[in-house]
């Protein structure tokens, strides 16, 4: 007697499962880890600014986050979902992304605690809502920011000596009352090429725009990246900062500086476009990118936050269901999404002009004051 199995199709499936996708991402993230080790460990070691401990500290830093996310994942899995298959590389990837956005001076204890928060939060969201609404990585990051504010634990475990003197470029720019100029905000770090290559202060592995872009292109070719999100986010920030710069007669270097600084590029590729916390529809992704870009600029220029990219990426996914709803309907009736695009374009123009004019006024005020001082 033959045993005919009944099951619903399809009866062939792609070989690419979540585990394989995670392994692919893990391999790519290892390239960023390698860059981080070179930038923060090897180069200072070769220039004899640090000893052997300094050479290995960056790798220890990333490993501590990775191991903690893996351990907590194993524990949570045993406690909450023992029958389900575990994807180790998923938690490892979260651990890597989480540690790469942190500054190297973050105390290891904070790193480890934050890593635990990342995984616990993910399980918590999944159990409670069946879906992840906020990026777990950024929840870990915000947890560390909180710990820094409380600062009851002594900070400063290690600093890359090459970065000690200046601080981050955006931090430097925020200390200047107007938009600054090339000499004041770019030249202290070398040139824009240094920004693109990543040899400027910032997160452990977020600074190399070139590497991030290359990885993004690879992932896009492999159809493993929601490429519209980083593309539209970066383009929006570029467009807005270009307009802002134009009010103060700054040339193209200014928007380039803005997109190459901070965690914008890395974040938009590996965090904003993170599958679970980003829209699934193409138009939803474009809208998400537009609003994310606007929010980044608002936070950068109108709040005390110097970067704003990560904070914006934490907030925007809350509206995913709206973006997806519009995006899904727009797949059949594009005109129904027009209002959302008009709002986005309006916000882009409004805030770019508003910030640009504010800075222009600020600049004029400074000029007047300088003239007054000169006259005196």
């Amino acid at each position: 007697m033959k045993d005919f199995q009944v099951g619903t199709g399809t009866y062939v499936i792609t070989e690419k499962n979540n585990q394989k996708r995670s392994i692919q991402l893990f391999c790519l993230l290892c390239i960023l880890i390698l860059f981080s080790v070179i930038k923060n460990g090897l180069l200072p070691y070769l220039s004899k600014q640090v000893g052997l401990s300094g050479l290995f500290f960056p790798i220890l830093f990333v490993l501590s986050g990775m191991i903690m996310t893996l351990l907590v994942d194993l524990i949570c899995h045993q406690l909450l979902e023992p029958n389900k298959k575990i994807n180790y590389f998923h938690s490892l990837n979260l651990g890597i992304i989480y540690t790469l956005i942190l500054p190297l001076y973050t105390p290891l204890l904070f790193v480890v605690l934050g890593a635990a928060v990342v995984i616990i939060f993910e399980y918590f969201m999944r159990k409670l809502f069946g879906k992840i609404y906020l990026s777990p990585v950024l929840v870990g990051w915000i947890f560390i920011m909180g710990l820094h504010l409380l600062s009851f634990i002594p900070t400063l475990d290690y600093l890359n000596p090459l970065e000690v003197e200046l601080g981050t470029p955006l931090g430097m720019a925020s200390t200047i009352s107007d938009l600054g100029n090339y000499q004041t905000i770019v030249e202290p770090y070398g040139s824009l090429l240094d920004f693109i290559l990543g040899f400027v202060p910032g997160g452990v592995g977020t600074t190399s725009i070139l590497l991030c872009m290359m990885l993004a292109i690879y992932l896009t070719i492999k159809k493993e990246l929601k490429w519209r999100i980083p593309l539209v986010t970066i383009a929006t920030v570029f467009g807005m900062t270009f307009m802002i710069g134009e009010f103060s007669h700054l040339s193209l270097w200014y928007p380039l500086f803005q997109i190459c600084s901070g965690s914008l590029v890395f974040g938009s590729i590996f965090i904003a476009a993170y599958d679970e916390t980003s829209p699934v529809t193409p138009i939803g992704q474009v809208l998400y990118g537009l609003f994310l870009g606007v929010l980044i600029v608002i936070l950068r220029y109108m709040t005390p936050l110097t970067d704003g990219a990560l904070a914006a990426m934490l907030i925007i996914p809350v509206f995913n269901s709206v973006f997806d709803y519009i995006g899904a309907i727009a797949r059949f009736h594009f005109t129904k999404s027009v209002i959302a695009f008009i709002i986005a374009w309006f916000l882009i123009l409004l805030f770019a002009c508003f910030i640009g004019i504010q800075n222009m006024k600020q600049e004029k005020m400074i000029e007047t004051r300088v003239e007054q001082i000169d006259l005196m």
């Binding site: 199995q5 009944v6 199709g9 399809t10 009866y11 499962n17 679970e276 899904a328 797949r331 059949f332």
Partner: protein, 425 residues
């Protein structure tokens, strides 16, 4: 919108020469046409029927006849599995092995000697339906009052494993080209396009050998990507036009290449559609191959005829291709005109368990009908939102389930939504 290459598994059945199975002791003609079981029965137990006799007819608008595929005696009625996975009532006819036609209408030397009305009536009475898997009555496509500007012959055969169209087209290329020419002449169609996948070199070579004298017939090579065989997508790719419901609305008729051969049989011999080539394939069959089979034959008999199964335990018998087909709980499946493939596999279900959806968006990105399957899945219990997501557009190509890295049976959920939305209308 992206497409996926699914070129694998074709060689399994195409490397063996096609065979014929034409000596069944009984045939079981299901009283169903294109999932419509509203059929008028025209014979009773004990009646003698000829090969090609009309034994039942569909009611309603599409009054297409159902023919006997053999000559013999009606011995009763039994339920057998139809390709929709359900048991359907069948007329059981005992074969007298005489292959007798009631009237021998002779051979038509010139296929173009038909008026358009005669042509449509012939297609209707010969029961010619789409052999690509839909079973849609072909005469309806030519009945449109709108002028037909282009005839597209779909020889893409997009699903993995299936090769019956290519094998038939390669062996009956002259007849097919003659039929296309006749259809163009009768219907005053200025242009015909045969769409073949770039990778199907054997068929391309054969067509190129014969096409020379047919100046109005063009051979167009298309990329080897899944869902390009889907009518709407093919029309869009070849003619850059889109339409809502039927391609006839934009002056285009699309026929499967095997359907063209069925039209040839009707034009040349006035023979109704009583047999077709079917791909019997899969890793659980000893000798996968294409077989010409009469309608109403049990699949089990054909499988035994071609060498049987490799294993007895845990096999999956699928009526249709691996993407759009359906697993049948028994080999008591009957062959019908719209069955193009019988796939026998070692089951893969259970090897990988469904995980939580990671929102990768692949199902949305690749959906040929621009649906948002993941959102449909999430809103299954929200009828208002579900309706706006238009799940009824789903063509059940299965690409969403194939691509899902979380191994979620997304298509099943969209089908569920389709039913819910249909019910709420």
């Amino acid at each position: 919108m992206l497409s996926v290459k699914l070129h694998k598994w074709k060689k399994i059945s195409s490397k063996t020469q096609a065979s014929i199975y034409n000596k069944p002791a009984y045939v079981y003609i299901p009283l169903i046409s294109q999932d419509d079981d509203n059929i008028t029965l025209l014979v009773k137990k004990g009646d003698y029927v000829y090969k090609g006799s009309i034994i039942a007819r569909r009611k309603g608008n599409l009054r297409i006849p159902i023919h006997s595929s053999i000559s013999g005696t009606v011995v009763g009625f039994e339920e057998k599995y139809y390709q929709n996975g359900k048991l359907e009532k069948c007329i059981v006819i005992e074969n007298d092995y005489k292959e007798k036609y009631q009237v021998n209408k002779g051979v038509k030397r010139n296929l173009t000697k038909y008026s358009k009305e005669e042509f449509i009536e012939l297609l209707k009475e010969c029961g010619v339906v789409g052999l690509g898997g839909t079973g849609f009555p072909t005469y309806v496509k030519y009945s449109s009052k709108r002028k037909i500007n282009t005839l597209i012959i779909n020889a893409i055969e997009a699903e993995p494993y299936i090769t019956c169209d290519s094998v038939l087209a390669a062996s009956k290329c002259e007849e097919i080209l003659e039929a296309i020419d006749a259809i163009m002449e009768i219907n005053q169609i200025p242009e015909a396009i045969i769409a073949v996948k770039k990778t199907n070199t054997e068929l391309i070579h054969t067509i190129n050998n014969f096409i020379g004298t047919y100046l109005r017939i063009k051979l167009v090579l298309v990329p080897d990507i899944y869902t390009l065989g889907y009518e709407k997508k093919l029309v869009q790719y070849l003619k850059h036009v889109s339409y809502q419901k039927y391609s006839m609305d934009v002056g285009i008729v699309v026929n499967n290449i095997s359907t063209i051969y069925a039209i040839y049989q009707a034009l040349k011999y006035q023979h109704p559609l009583t047999e077709r080539m079917i791909t019997f394939t899969g890793d659980a069959l000893k000798k996968p191959q294409n077989v010409i089979v009469k309608n109403g034959v049990l699949v089990e008999e054909v499988i035994e005829h071609i060498g049987g199964y490799k294993r007895d335990k845990k096999i999956q018998l699928i009526a249709g291709g691996p993407m759009m087909g359906r697993a049948i709980p028994s080999s008591d499946l009957v062959v019908t005109s719209n069955l193009n493939c019988v796939l026998v596999l070692k089951p893969n279900t259970g090897k990988e368990v469904s995980e939580v959806c990671v929102h990768c968006g692949k199902c949305v990105e690749y959906c040929p009908t621009r649906l948002s399957p993941v959102l449909i899945k999430e809103h299954l219990n929200h009828p208002k939102i579900l309706k706006q997501l238009e799940p009824q557009r789903c063509i059940e190509c299965g690409l969403c389930t194939y691509l899902c890295p979380s191994r979620i049976k997304v298509r099943d959920m969209v089908q569920e939504a389709k039913q819910k939305v249909g019910g709420s209308k």
